[in-house]
Amino acid sequence: MAGEYTLIPEQAFSDFISGTLHQDTDAYAKLLEAGFLVDDTSALSLDLLAVKLRTKLSNISRFTSLHMIVVTLRCDHSCPYCQVSRQSEDKEKYDISPETAGKAVDLIFRSPSRDIKIEYQGGEPLLNFASVEFITKYAVSLASKHNKNVSFVIATNLSRITDDMLQFCKEFDVSVSTSLDGPKDLHNLNRPMSGADSFERVASGVDLTRRFLGRSSVSALMTTTEASLGRVKDIVDTYVEMGFPGIFLRPLSPYGFAIKTKTYSKYDTRRWLDFYDEGLEYILQLNRLGVDFSEFYSSTILKKMLTPFSPGYVDLMSPAGIGIAAVVYNYNGNIYASDEGRMRAEMGDETFRLGNVHANSYDEIFTSDELLEPLERSFTGSVPMCSDCVYEPYCGAEPVYHHATQGDFVGFKPLSGFCERNMHVIKRLMSIVEGGSADSRTLRRWSIR
């Protein structure tokens, strides 16, 4: 559970299991150092494991740090993979009201976390920038009152970004996360808008934002679609060319086009794995040529695998990260345990709705069955297959995914695309790390990003 691993010969392993492994072997020493084996010389070993476990799980005691607020559902794009946004001028209907926003922020500051991060989500949050300003100012005042740190990020397509908005962002230390799906043709295919110039707008928006807020103030997120699958090099190249320090080769979303049947979803996973493998190899090749560029899905897993820290990435946590690590406040006051949970709601499935800011107290929301049930059920330490799985410390629970694809929080792992994906990725990363080439140094560096 503390995430230690060690590689020993198969014979040594069976000796270990049968209790005949000799003290003078390398395998014995390695098992002892990693805490798999305790003898009378290693009295401290359990204490060390306890410290490591506590460090790994410390994010639970800090509780929710990432709070997403959907300030509007309106958007100027009509991306087919997005389940939630609306093309509408009806602000009344789809924008967050000041009362709802104020109540959401009040709830956010009930969280025991010292460091609060508020992420503005949409639709396109810039279409309701007045709410962004209102919430930011109110949160800053509450933060100083409660003696907490607060930081902000806007998830935006940047098409409407202006100097004034960036001036505001600069003043309140708001950073920017945008969407970039790859080269121009792919990006504009994935992300249609009137004018069909989404890519050009991102490119100039990124440039403008960097001018105001600094080089590392903008991050970009890619959505992998069917059309992306053969194009990983082009996608990576776009990111390199635009000066990003890395890319997150995101798994195919099960919430959109891929969700048809269980077997189909497995087939999709395999296609994604090819995409990932090819992308990883290409990125490692760039690193061999001296380009310092990372892949963030890998670095998240590597952090779990190689370091005493935990990345706090919602999809790769157990207990699951829903609600605990991140929570979503929708424009209408509904609260969801994760962003995917709110997307499910737009598709008519309210399983992950924890309550509403107007109707429920903090305690009701965070002790609701809607949160506790999936957390408890999906805990990998006790679910079939995961509890015996050697990769469990590097994997996660992901109840939303399994609910969406298999209809329950646990799922049958042999049919789970999530399971197949992580087994493959973890194995692959481990073999590179242990391979001892220049690539293993690259991966070690990623692990502490």
Partner: protein, 381 residues
Amino acid sequence: MIALQGYGIGLKEPARRGSRIFRLSTDDKRPGVLAKQECFLSKDGKFPPAFAAGLCLGDYVPATGYDHGIWALPEQLLYLGDGDIVRIGEIGEIRVLFRKNAPMNYFLLTERCNNLCLMCSQPPKNVLDDYLGDEVEEVIKLVPENTDAIGFTGGEPALLGGRFLDLIQLASSYLPNTDLHVLSNGRQFVDASAARRLGAIGHPRLVLGIPLYSPSPATHDYVVQSKGAFNETVAGLYNLKEAGVRIELRVVVHRQNFTQLTRLANFIFRNLTFVEHIAFMGLELTGYARANIDSLWIDPWNYRSVLSEAVLRLYDYGMNVSIYNLPSCLLEQPVRSFSRKSISDWKNEFVAECATCGARGECCGFFASAGMRQNSHITAL
């Protein structure tokens, strides 16, 4: 190699008995109130009146005498200068306690130790040596306030208990801007309250340099010849960290542990992530190391690749790592930049090959005691 002691030839007999510690001064206009506690260092045999003792660079016959005598410096101590601190005994034994121009001065707090390391360069003696602490106390008060760094060493300094803490407190009060580097095996801090008391002094420039030889308790305990030492040291490290004391790990590399270096690197990163610095160190062939040479010596040339692997691994994991006491030409190219000029200047030497070497400026050279001088892999870079 710079000598740290010698006998002075009596030029004027002392009027008083006993040995004393003096700061040296070359200033013949020194106000009497200060001069009366100091030793005048004369180039030409002239001695102003007010001083307590005198040292002379030549064999002159001085006109006047001092309470603690006037002595001609032996050849090997002619380097002494203003601001240095020495002890002068009643028959002219001179021990250099502090050299103002040295990058680092170490003070021995005790010769007692609870480890018995195979390669100890300062073999412990079980003697009553409280006088050492008294001496250090006196010297600290004389050390100039703008000194960069001083060190406490042993034996195991922490064995002094309350006295140890007093000396740290003294250094913290008298020399708040001076780095204080303490070489300890950390075992005393298995007692969390000892660690807390050390932390409570709050000396911001205090760093404890603690050795860890192996991730395997059995190997570490063997190297330090003391069962249970590994567990105590590691528990001590945790307690020190809790108490807010800064820590450097010191890994002397030798035959017993060179194969385990990458495992040690992993262990350090996973379990001791909080340490501020890790130093891998070449073996100094003095003290016990000479006696145990067969079980300890391995040519650094033969472990250069595992050393690189361990150093780079810690570096990639974001840890602060250095290599001490190994000549640059015995290191692989990617880790040469981790090498520090670490050998105390008074122990330091170079060989003929080094004269034409481009790395000479960054290279730490050899211990004067090292058998490495005959190493066939020493090649100018």
